[in-house]
Amino acid sequence: MNNMIVSVNPHVYAKDTTQTIMRDVLIALFPAVIASIIFFGVRALLVEAVCVAVAVVCEWAFEKITNRPITIMDLSAAVTGLILALNLPVSIPIWQAMFGAFVAIIVVKQFFGGIGQNFANPAITARVIMLVAFSGAMTNWLPAAFSNAPADAVTAATPLAILGGAEGALPTLAQMFLGARGGSMGETSCLALLIGGLYLIYRRVISWHTPVAFIGTVLVLTALLGKDPLYQVMAGGLFLGAIFMATDYTTSPPTPAGKLIFGVGCGLITVLIRVWGNYPEGVSFSILLMNILNPYISGWTKTKPFGGVQA
């Protein structure tokens, strides 16, 4: 009888904390960081380090000034900084990368109340703001190592831009998969991103629903529209967006059904922008737009409590 302990729920605990989850995300991003250094050189590492450092310092400074608990040890600011860096072209001026990290942490995250309160993914919002603010520098793609760009090339168009009419030779499917092509530092290597994604699914940090729905929708729709579906799926920032940014806890629905709707919506908007839009790539816009719809999707797909009665 003495062994019986009466306590209030919850009775089952998981050891996960924000810190362990964010640490897993950082580990999952590691292959993409390695790939970015292999294909774009040491400057990639410099930009990544700057973005992470600025993001962490901004978080610390804002929380210090506003007398809030310091949350830099939960690593979420570091993750935001790193994902933002992977979304930038390697040639980005350092001050612009710093501006982006500042916007991501201060404007998108802290102004709305800090971790768990932001209405949209900080990294993706900062990327879109930078794309509007620095449209030249943000689309200045350098040729990757091992790519089929001519040896004396100064810039290299992304595969999607080439498909859209820009000059350049299309990379082969193998080059697309490994990452030897023009693009943002972290988005080119589908292999590295896939390894990271599988690790996150294995560690149960993310579920398969959003990435599969997102990538699957792009695959099916581009096939229906007469494009090369495999090429469309590997081009642009689709893997990076689907695995690391569309799965953000704060800005995506919590239930499997909601995640599926969210992923399909992202895929739909991405294809619409790629095929009929002004921009060659639509992954970041699609995630941002679906982030804004997230409260509605979460509401529609809310789990009914067992035995719950409609009030």
């Binding site: 001026p93 001050w95 501006f99 404007v107 703001i129 509007v132 603010a133 620095f134 449209s135």
Partner: protein, 230 residues
């Protein structure tokens, strides 16, 4: 008494800044603040109209029947705006092009109608003139602050003159609509922080300046005061 006059004059500059505290007339504030010179031009035009209409409405406050006061105010304001528009068109055609639609739209600017309703129709012409000058200066300063930030960082120039390093490193989103909204929000936050939130909360439910005072006879305010006392 003299102190009181000074208070009326300075009221509009920080404490009741028409844009950053009362949040009136934000449409032209967001639209024309891409260049500091436009901000000064718009500020001057609004101040002039505000001064003339406040004095005129104050002079006419005993003549205008309460029931038709809003149309009367609009007629007075519209006359002065037309005047300003003709002068600007004749002597400052560049400013006319830069301000475009927002110059005739001063007619429906909330600040001017707001001051007519809240101040000029209850006070003598001198006080109304002081209030108009204070509000006009507050408006112009807020416009200038916003336009300076947006022009310096967004275009790398100030009053059209290039700013050294920033000219080549401009953040063009600052001069676009999203940058305008973001900086507007940040400026409001700074003013609110600087005044400890008093700028907005300080109104202690007086019937003076309340547009529905006639209908409620002070009952609402009495109830609120009781609630606040508890």
């Amino acid at each position: 008494m003299k102190n009181n006059k000074l208070k009326i004059l300075t009221n509009g500059i920080i404490k009741e800044n028409p844009i950053l505290v009362l949040i009136l007339g934000t449409c032209p504030f967001l639209a024309v603040t891409t260049q500091a010179s436009n901000a000064i031009g718009m500020g001057a035009a609004v101040t002039f109209v505000l001064l003339c209409s406040n004095v005129m409405i104050s002079l006419l406050r005993k003549v205008i029947s309460d029931k038709v006061r809003i149309p009367c105010y609009i007629v007075v304001i519209a006359s002065f705006v037309t005047l300003v528009q003709m002068i600007v068109k004749a002597y400052l055609p560049a400013l006319d092009v830069a301000l475009g639609l927002y110059l005739p739209l001063i007619v429906v600017n909330c600040i001017i109608l707001g001051r007519a309703e809240m101040f000029a129709n209850k006070n003598n012409p001198l006080d109304s003139a002081l209030d108009a000058i204070g509000m006009g200066v507050g408006y112009t300063l807020a416009m200038l602050a916003m336009a300076s930030i947006r022009e310096i960082f967004g275009a790398g120039t100030w009053f059209g003159l290039p700013v050294p390093v920033l000219k080549d490193n401009n953040i063009s989103i600052m001069t676009m609509a999203p940058g305008g909204f973001a900086i507007f929000g940040i400026l409001i936050a700074i003013i609110n922080k600087a005044s400890n939130g008093k700028a907005i909360k300080k109104k202690d439910f007086s019937c003076e300046g309340c547009p529905s005072a006639a209908a409620c006879n002070g009952q609402n305010c009495a109830e609120k005061r009781e609630a606040a006392a508890k």
